[in-house]
Each structure stands twice: as structure tokens, then as C-alpha cells.
């Protein structure tokens, strides 16, 4: 290669683009031309996966299992017995928690039989009055942090009860209370293993990469096949989805423990166990807790998706409401999810920051004050429920359990608002919508679909080579090759076009907004806080307001993606710009730069790698949202994944499609991350 080509990136890109457009012009659509589309050599992969799963489930390792109902040993495949055992134990625990709050008899059945229940009508676990549950939660909040958290918890509880969302909320809660601890435990265990052994880390790393970029949907089908449908399957999907980020953060935290602290632990004579639980994990507490926090957030964001495979609770109600376009109800349910998320978030953080007081010499009542109060609340709640049964004799007993959808509702108000928006702005919205679709989206999609496969490879791998080097180019090429050999190249192009559009627009929004806010300390803090708040929203929530405005169209999906994906771009821009070393600012000032010059010639170049990491996350968020968007009717990979849920061949197709989407995300991640690290090294940052 001539030396001038190496020296200037602009020239390299110029050559790349010329080659790209030449290829585009030269190669026309043709079924037989492999330069246009590669043959689907890998189209059998879904079937191979299916066969593998079927083999595992029905044929592999038959063992003798005693069946008490026919009093004989039967041959059953080992793997299936294992998955069945996992399913039933999860179902049991989830039900036990659920019935502890909401009442029921399934747990009692588990220890006896349905006949026993029929013969003994008293054998039903009574529901706790909602007042008691909320009261207990408030005491917990008070004990963990103080009055503010107790108040917040109380408001959340009251909202949930008053709006008639009590039972679905508790159903959701019951599977989160199982899924979150299991994810945290698994994440901790795997993280520690990866820390102890380089081999385990090398093994886990690619798995985590794929797992974190796979769209939520693609987990669903294999779980259905292996574990069936229901709350336990939903809990398992949630665990599968929430664990990877926990593993990552635990590993990161453990690696960041200062060597002095590790040495101090060893010189104090810690054995391995003490080292792990009293030195390493507590010192890495911050990262571990961010992990716990992430797990809780992931669990809540899965509530809606888990509803596809039979999780009861808020998620399935939200799904039904959105499906029947009852936006007001959807909004109320969405707020429930957000409230639960916020309360969980604050409680887990407060729990982390608690400290023990060694000097308090407390009396019995003081020491057990909280338990005493909780007991009092239990008695008080029951008494209130009894009084309630007298007051509301004809009606529902609102002091006991507020029945689903029988509480207050503001739905008509929101519905009227939506109607008003539609009546007033119908033509505006419609014309905007039409312009966007016919003027921007369709031409863009056609352009993407008109790319010959070689041109796409050239563009992507060339960009990777110029920015990140040969190794990245080859890795990215590998990712693309998998997609190109699968049957889903065209669908993937559609996904890519939607994601590209979302990324470009939200990148512009986020970077502009971030750069503007970073100029002022107060604005920076405010916008970061707002980003925090937005990120507690499960992704599905973003769909509610856009459906209100734009109905069920591609536009809705794109706008939701924009809102969702702008958050990381904004956040990273603000962080990047604010972390430019003050000495550089001062040096700039003394050279006499103006405010704008400083931003353009000092701050942005220094912060650029960090901003690009934000864009990287924006890509992932946009992809995730575009795929979720399939639920309201886009025609891309997401829609196929959604369809796969109800197909007999679904497992293989679902996984393959999921891997395709993951590879798109990983390809972008590979380029941007490698480039940003190189750049940061060159700038002497880190």
C-alpha cells in the first residue's frame, strides 16, 4: 500500500467510498450472482439446533424413574427430568411467595393433594391485607434509609392499591423476588470463578458478549421448549437475561480491588473463604451493587417480555392493554412498573450503605422495635380489613384486597387526551408520519436492500480496518459472514436500516443536548439525573406515549428508539466533556480561545473517545428497541423472532435470529471499542 494511503484517514475513507459506490453501480440484483447475495449455506443451522434440543430432551441418557401413580419404573430421558425438576421447584417457590401475599392453596396442595383441599375447605392460605404489605415495606424502607424512603414506598404502595393494580403487581413482585436473588447469586458465583481462573474467564467472555446483545425475544423459544410455559419459565428467561451484566460487574469489581488491600488481607492471615467474603467482595461492593441494581432493572424490564411466555402480572396486563389500544390503562400499569423499579433501586442502594453500630446498648423494645412495629401493622391491618368487611358489605372490601381494575382510574382522562390529540393534530401527525415513511424511511430501506453483499462487506470491513485495524476487520467480517450465509440477510438489512436511522438521529440529539448541558455545572447535574431516571424505565414503557401519538406504525418504533437511545449518547457526552482535565481548559484560556473554540478544538477532541462509547451503547439500545418494536408491527428480524415463538421449529430459528442480531451489535461494538481504546491510549487518557 502506498504510504500516503496509510497516512491520511480521510483519503482512506475516500477510496473506500468510491469503491463502495462503484460496486453498488456495477452489481445488480441477480439470484445467481454470489457477489449480490451469498447462498444460504447455513440455513440448516436452525434445524440442527432443533435436532440437538429434541435429542437432549427426548432421547439422551434414558434413566429409570419410579412413577408412583402406576407403581412402576419408567424410562425417561435424564435431561428432561432435570429441566422438569428445575421447572417444578421454581414454580413451587414462586407460588409460595405469591400466595404468602395474595393467598391461595397451591402451596398447601404441594404438601398434600387436591383431594385434601376439597375435603377441607378451611385449608386456604389467607391473603395479607394490602395495608399490611405496604406497611411492612415502609418499615423496611425506614429501617434501611429513613423517612424519605418510607414515604416513597408508601406512595408507591398506595398508588398501586388505589389504581386497582394490587394483584398483578404482587404477581410481578413474586417472580422478581425469585429471579433477582438467583441472578445475583449466579452472577456472583460465575464472576468469582472467572476472577479465579483465566480459563473460565476466556470461556465466559464470548458467551457474555452474545448474551448481552441477544434481543430479549430470542431467549423465549428455547426456554419454552426446555421448561414449558408459565411463571417459572418467565423467571428462568429473566435470570438468563439478567445474569450476564452481574457477572461482568462482579469481575470488573474484583479486578479493581487495589493490590494493597489484597496484600493486607493476606498478611492478616485470611484463608480463601475469608479473603473472598470479607476482603474481595466487600471491597468490590460498589460494582457488585451496581450489578444488583442492574439485575433488578433487567428483571423489571423483562416483566413485559416474560408475559409472552406466560408470566402473570403487570407485564401481561400491559401487553393486553397496548394490544387493545387502551393507552390510559397502559400508562397506569407502566407507572406501576416504574414505581416498583424506583423503590427497589433505592432500597438496594440504601441496604448497601448501612453500617453497624457497636456501641449502641439497646433495650429489648428498641432492638426489636421494627419487628414490633411490623407485628402491630399486621394486627392493625387485619382489624382494618375486618372493619372494611362491615363498611363495604355490598361492595369490594377495599381494606383487604383491591380487586384488579376496580380501583381508581385515570384511564378515561388519558383516553380523552389521546382522542383530543388525534382529533386536533390528526392531519399534522398523519402528514408527518407519511412524510417520514415515504420521504425518508422507504428510500433509505430501498437503498440498504439494493446493496450487493460484497459492497456491504467492503464498507463495513474497510471502516473497521481504517479505524480499528486488521484484527477488528477480520472479526467483524466473521460476524457478517454468519449473517450473510444465513437466510436472513435481507431482514438483517432492514433491522440495520432502522437501527442506523435511530442511531444517527439519537446520536445527533444526544451529542448536541449533552454538549449544550455540559457548559454549565447545574445543567450537567440535572441532565445526568434525568438520564438516570429515564434509564430506570423498562424499554417497553417507551412505546406507550409514542403509540398514543403515532398509532401502530414504524414511526412509533423509531421515535421510541430515538427516545430510548438518546439517553446514553447524552450521558456519555456530558461525562466526557465534564471530565476534560481542568489544566487543559486553563491552558486553552491562557492561549486566548473563545468558548466555542475551546469546545471545538480542546474539549470535543479529548472527550471524543468517551462520546463514541456512548454512541456504541446507543447502537445497542437502538437495536434492542427496534427488535422490541416488532411487537407493534415492523417487518425485520424482530418480527421473525416474534413469529418463531409460535412455530414448531421455533427454537432453532429463534436462536439463529437472536445470534444474527447479537452479531450486528457485536460488530459495531468491536469497531467502536477498539478504536476508542486506541484513541484514549494515544491521548494518554485512562
Amino acid at each position: 500500500m502506498p504510504s500516503y494511503l496509510k497516512s491520511s484517514k480521510a483519503i482512506q475513507f475516500g477510496v473506500l467510498f468510491i469503491a463502495f459506490f462503484l460496486l453498488n453501480a456495477l452489481i445488480g440484483p441477480s439470484e445467481s450472482n454470489y457477489l449480490w447475495r451469498l447462498p444460504p449455506l447455513l440455513k440448516d443451522i436452525p434445524f440442527l439446533i432443533n435436532d440437538l434440543v429434541r435429542g437432549l430432551m427426548f432421547e439422551w441418557m434414558p434413566i429409570d424413574v419410579y412413577d408412583p401413580s402406576i407403581d412402576e419404573y419408567e424410562q425417561k430421558p435424564l435431561f428432561r427430568e432435570i429441566t422438569r425438576a428445575i421447572s417444578s421447584s421454581f414454580s413451587f417457590v414462586i407460588n409460595a411467595v405469591r400466595e404468602f401475599i395474595l393467598g391461595g392453596s397451591k402451596t398447601i396442595v404441594a404438601f398434600s393433594s387436591w383431594d385434601f383441599i376439597k375435603e377441607n375447605p378451611w385449608a386456604v392460605w389467607p391473603a395479607l391485607p394490602w395495608t399490611v404489605v405496604v406497611g411492612w415495606a415502609m418499615v423496611l424502607g425506614y429501617k434501611l434509609q429513613g423517612r424519605n424512603l418510607a414515604f416513597l414506598t408508601g406512595v408507591a404502595g398506595l398508588y398501586i392499591a388505589a389504581f386497582g393494580q394490587w394483584s398483578p403487581s404482587m404477581q410481578t413482585l413474586s417472580f422478581i423476588l425469585i429471579a433477582a436473588p438467583v441472578s445475583v447469586f449466579l452472577g456472583l458465583a460465575l464472576g468469582v470463578f472467572a476472577y479465579k481462573s483465566k480459563a473460565v474467564e476466556a470461556f465466559l467472555n464470548p458467551l457474555l458478549n452474545v448474551a448481552q446483545t441477544m434481543p430479549h425475544y430470542s431467549y423465549l423459544v428455547p426456554i419454552i421448549v426446555l421448561f414449558g410455559v408459565g411463571d417459572h419459565a418467565a423467571a428462568l428467561v429473566t435470570i438468563l437475561f439478567a445474569t450476564p451484566s452481574m457477572v461482568r460487574l462482579v469481575l470488573l469489581g474484583l479486578k479493581n480491588v487495589p493490590t494493597d488491600v489484597v496484600d493486607a488481607g493476606r498478611m492478616s492471615g485470611c484463608n480463601d473463604f475469608q479473603m473472598l467474603f470479607r476482603v474481595l467482595i466487600p471491597t468490590a461492593k460498589r460494582d457488585v451493587l451496581i450489578g444488583v441494581n442492574q439485575v433488578v432493572m433487567q428483571c423489571l424490564s423483562m416483566t413485559v417480555i416474560a408475559a409472552f411466555i406466560g408470566a402473570q402480572g403487570l407485564g401481561s396486563n400491559l401487553l393486553i392493554a397496548l394490544n387493545s389500544l387502551r393507552i390510559g390503562t397502559g400508562l397506569e400499569i407502566g407507572i406501576c412498573i416504574v414505581l416498583i423499579a424506583v423503590v427497589f433501586d433505592k432500597m438496594s442502594l440504601a441496604w448497601a450503605n448501612k453500617q453497624t453500630d457497636y456501641f449502641a446498648d439497646l433495650s429489648f423494645t428498641k432492638r426489636y422495635r421494627h419487628f414490633l412495629i411490623m407485628a402491630a401493622i399486621l394486627v392493625g391491618g387485619i382489624v382494618m380489613a375486618m372493619i372494611g368487611s362491615i363498611i363495604f358489605e355490598e361492595d369490594f372490601n377495599y381494606f383487604y384486597i383491591v380487586p384488579h381494575n376496580k380501583g381508581l382510574t385515570t384511564a378515561p382522562f388519558w383516553q380523552a387526551g389521546v382522542d383530543w390529540v388525534w382529533d386536533t393534530f390528526f392531519y399534522t401527525l398523519k402528514s408527518f408520519n407519511e412524510w417520514l415513511i415515504t420521504g425518508v424511511l422507504v428510500p433509505m430501506r430501498d437503498a440498504y436492500l439494493a446493496m450487493p453483499v460484497v459492497a456491504t462487506f467492503l464498507l463495513v470491513m474497510g471502516t473497521a480496518y481504517i479505524l480499528a485495524g486488521l484484527r477488528s476487520a477480520l472479526i467483524v467480517g466473521g460476524f457478517l459472514l454468519f449473517i450473510a450465509f444465513s437466510e436472513y440477510w435481507d431482514r438483517a438489512l432492514i433491522t440495520m436500516y432502522m437501527a442506523t436511522f435511530a442511531v444517527v438521529v439519537s446520536g445527533i440529539i444526544g451529542i448536541t443536548l449533552g454538549a449544550a448541558c455540559a457548559q454549565n455545572t447545574f445543567a450537567s447535574k440535572a441532565v445526568l439525573l434525568f438520564c438516570d431516571f429515564l434509564q430506570t424505565f423498562p424499554s417497553f414503557i417507551y412505546l406507550i406515549p409514542v403509540i398514543m401519538l403515532f398509532g401502530i406504525t414504524d414511526t412509533s418504533v423509531l421515535i421510541a428508539s430515538l427516545a430510548f437511545a438518546s439517553v446514553p449518547a447524552t450521558r456519555f457526552t456530558v461525562e466526557g466533556l465534564r471530565s476534560v482535565p481542568p489544566v487543559l481548559q486553563d491552558a486553552g484560556s491562557m492561549c486566548g480561545v473563545s468558548r466555542l473554540q475551546r469546545l471545538i478544538s480542546i474539549e470535543i477532541p479529548i472527550a471524543f473517545p468517551h462520546i463514541m462509547l456512548g454512541v456504541n451503547q446507543t447502537v445497542n439500545f437502538a437495536l434492542m428497541m427496534v427488535i422490541i418494536g416488532a411487537f407493534i408491527g415492523t417487518i425485520d428480524l424482530g418480527q421473525l423472532i416474534l413469529k418463531a415463538i409460535s412455530e414448531p421449529q421455533g427454537t432453532g430459528i429463534g436462536i439463529t435470529l437472536g445470534v444474527c442480531v447479537a452479531f450486528i451489535g457485536l460488530a459495531v461494538d468491536q469497531i467502536i471499542r477498539t478504536w476508542a481504546n486506541k484513541r484514549k491510549l494515544a491521548l494518554g487518557l485512562n
Binding site: A264, M267, G269, P282, Q355, D357, Y358
Partner: protein
């Protein structure tokens, strides 16, 4: 001088190193097997290895404070980490109280660390999630002592290092000096016989450093531990040490008392350190006094043999006759003439500058 050395030999060696090597790199073992005595740096480099500690042997006797001094990369911290077995030495033998440290399994090592060793780290190594008290009590709790007793003991330690009233602070709420006081208290909590300090005051401001050195000397006068103290600060070494080992590129260049090092540097490298040292602040009267000659006419005043020259110089210089030097029991053990003092303080220096 000689008497001090004899004394040290009579006492038992608490720490004993025999030809300790630490070599980093894949070919470390083969390099070591071919080596006779000191390994040549060029050979090591050719084998793709870096020699951290090169054939180091010395003994530390009970109650002695040995300072290992060297610039960064001299292998001083590596040596300390070998002796505390935070890293495993590549070759040689290390004995602690006569027990071979390098052949111990991890359980024995754990016991030794729990009962005999305490260590202070440059960046404190405090557990961020524990309060001052909990940090100090940590080694006790690790040993299995119950919360009440360990916290009680930690309270005493906190008082000893002057942290009373801050027991419930978290490390992040303390200044650097205070954090290192916690580190010191923690390392002493199990009442170890052997105390390792790895550049304990290097991360502190100069004024605080001075204060902590005083505090350290005070503690040592009470506790009388066997101490290995690592520093890159020659002045600190002179202030604190009974003996100093000066290291360069993994090798001990000279191991001697501060006075001998200042008066008689063994190598050119050591001489560079001693050049700028204000001798009057380092040397004691006994280091420079002449033998007592009963025929000589003496001045009226007497000075203690343990006095630092700077403190008594004015007194001596004001006398025409030689001044008597007395030991702790007021017996005259030597004499010192003012001209000798001037010669010691300024004589050599001009020669050095000319040369």
C-alpha cells in the same frame, strides 16, 4: 560501633535470609541453576528475565530496626514481599524464628501471618467498607476472636495510635496520615513479633511524614518489635534505622549502621546518597569521639555519647580544651576536641567537592 555489632550477634536472629533470589520471567529457574552467586544483569536480560532480588543475605535480630533503602526499581519492595511471602522467592532460604518460611504450606503460612507478622502498606490497604475500628479489628476477627473482644482490643489500638474519637469513621473520611495510623494500628492488633512496613510514609505530605516518623519512633520505643522498614527516602532511613541496607538493582550495596554508612560509604553509589547528608544531624558524639586519654587536660563540661552532634556542637566549639564524653552511667568513655568536630563536619566535604 563494634560493640553494637557484637551485641546484635549475641541476640537471636529473628529473620534470616540466605542467598534470596527473585527472578521474573519464564526462564527464571534455569537461569538460577546456572548462576554462581550474583546473577549478571546482561545474562538475565538475554534469558528474557528481570532480576528483582539478586543473591541477598542478611539477618535481623530481635528488637532491631532494619531499614531497606533504595530507589524505585531497586528491588527493595520485592525483597520485603519475598520475606512476607506475598510473592514466592525464586531461590534461597528465608527463616523466621528458625522456621523455613519457603517450605511452609499455605495453612502454616496463614498461622504465621496471624500470630507473628504485621504489615503496613504504602497505599494503606484499608478495607473501604469497614470503619476505623472494624479495620483494626479485622486481623483479630479473621483469627476467630469474637466481636466484643476484638472491638475492645481495637479500641485500645486506636487510642495507642491517637485515633480516639474517630473510631466510627470510614477510611474515606480520614486524611492520609490518619489512614496510615489505622494501617499501623491494624498491623499491630495481633501483637506481632515481626513488623513489616512497606514505604509507609511515602504517600504522605512532608510535614505529616515527619510527624508520623516521630509517632513511629515513639511506638517502637514502647513496643520494641523486630522491624523491616522499606523506604526510598535516605533521610528517613537515617532517622529511623538501627542498620540500613542500601539496595541497587536487586543487590545490597552496603549494610551497616547509619553512622558507618555516612562516614564510610562502601561504594560510589552509596557515596552519592551520603554527600548531601547534614552529618551533624545524623552522627552521634560516639561516632566521632577520640579514645579517652587520661593524661589530657579536659574541659569542665561533659557531653553524652548518645547526643547528636548538632545539639551539642555549640557547647564543644566554645571550649578550647577537649570535652569529655560520658556514657549513661556518667563514666568518661572518650574525648572530643573542637577542631575534630569541625574536621568531621566540614573537612571531608571540601575534599569530596574537589575530587
Amino acid at each position: 560501633m563494634a560493640s553494637q555489632g557484637d551485641e546484635a550477634e549475641q541476640r537471636q536472629a529473628v529473620i534470616k535470609c540466605e542467598s534470596v533470589y527473585k527472578i521474573f520471567g519464564n526462564n527464571a529457574q534455569s537461569l538460577l541453576q546456572n548462576a554462581q552467586g550474583k546473577i549478571d544483569a546482561k545474562d538475565a536480560l538475554a534469558a528474557g528475565c528481570i532480576v528483582g532480588v539478586n543473591n541477598v543475605s542478611f539477618e535481623v535480630s530481635e528488637g532491631e530496626l532494619l531499614v531497606i533503602m533504595g530507589l524505585s526499581g531497586s528491588g527493595k519492595s520485592t525483597l520485603l514481599r519475598c520475606i512476607s511471602r506475598l510473592t514466592d522467592a525464586t531461590g534461597g532460604k528465608i527463616f523466621v524464628d528458625g522456621q523455613d518460611l519457603l517450605t511452609m504450606n499455605s495453612k502454616q503460612l496463614m498461622e504465621v501471618r496471624r500470630d507473628k507478622m504485621g504489615m503496613v502498606f504504602q497505599n494503606f490497604g484499608l478495607l473501604p467498607h469497614k470503619t476505623v475500628l472494624e479495620n483494626i479489628a479485622f486481623p483479630l476477627q479473621v483469627k476467630g476472636i469474637n466481636t466484643k473482644d476484638s472491638i475492645e482490643r481495637a479500641m485500645n489500638m486506636a487510642e495507642l495510635v491517637g485515633l480516639s474519637g474517630r473510631e466510627n469513621y470510614f477510611p474515606r473520611e480520614l486524611s492520609g496520615g490518619q489512614q496510615q495510623r489505622v494501617g499501623i494500628a491494624r498491623s499491630l492488633a495481633v501483637e506481632p513479633d515481626i513488623w513489616f512496613l512497606d514505604e509507609p510514609f511515602s504517600a504522605l505530605d512532608p510535614l505529616i511524614r515527619k510527624e508520623m516518623q516521630d509517632e513511629f519512633l515513639r511506638l517502637q520505643s514502647v513496643l520494641n518489635k523486630t522491624i523491616l522498614f522499606v523506604t526510598h527516602d535516605f533521610d528517613e532511613a537515617l532517622r529511623l534505622a538501627d542498620r540500613i541496607a542500601i539496595m541497587k538493582e536487586g543487590v545490597i550495596e552496603q549494610l551497616d549502621t547509619p553512622a558507618n554508612i555516612v562516614l564510610d560509604p562502601a561504594t560510589e553509589y552509596v557515596r552519592k546518597f551520603t554527600q548531601e547528608v547534614p552529618r551533624e544531624k545524623v552522627l552521634k558524639i560516639e561516632d566521632v569521639m577520640d579514645p579517652y586519654d587520661s593524661t589530657e587536660e579536659m574541659s569542665d563540661i561533659k557531653v553524652s555519647k548518645n547526643a547528636i552532634i548538632e545539639v551539642v556542637a555549640e557547647q564543644i566549639l566554645s571550649q578550647d580544651k577537649a570535652v569529655g564524653v560520658v556514657d549513661d552511667n556518667d563514666n568518661i568513655v572518650g574525648s572530643l576536641h573542637s577542631s575534630h568536630v569541625i574536621n568531621v563536619l566540614f573537612g571531608n566535604r571540601s575534599q569530596e567537592q574537589q575530587g
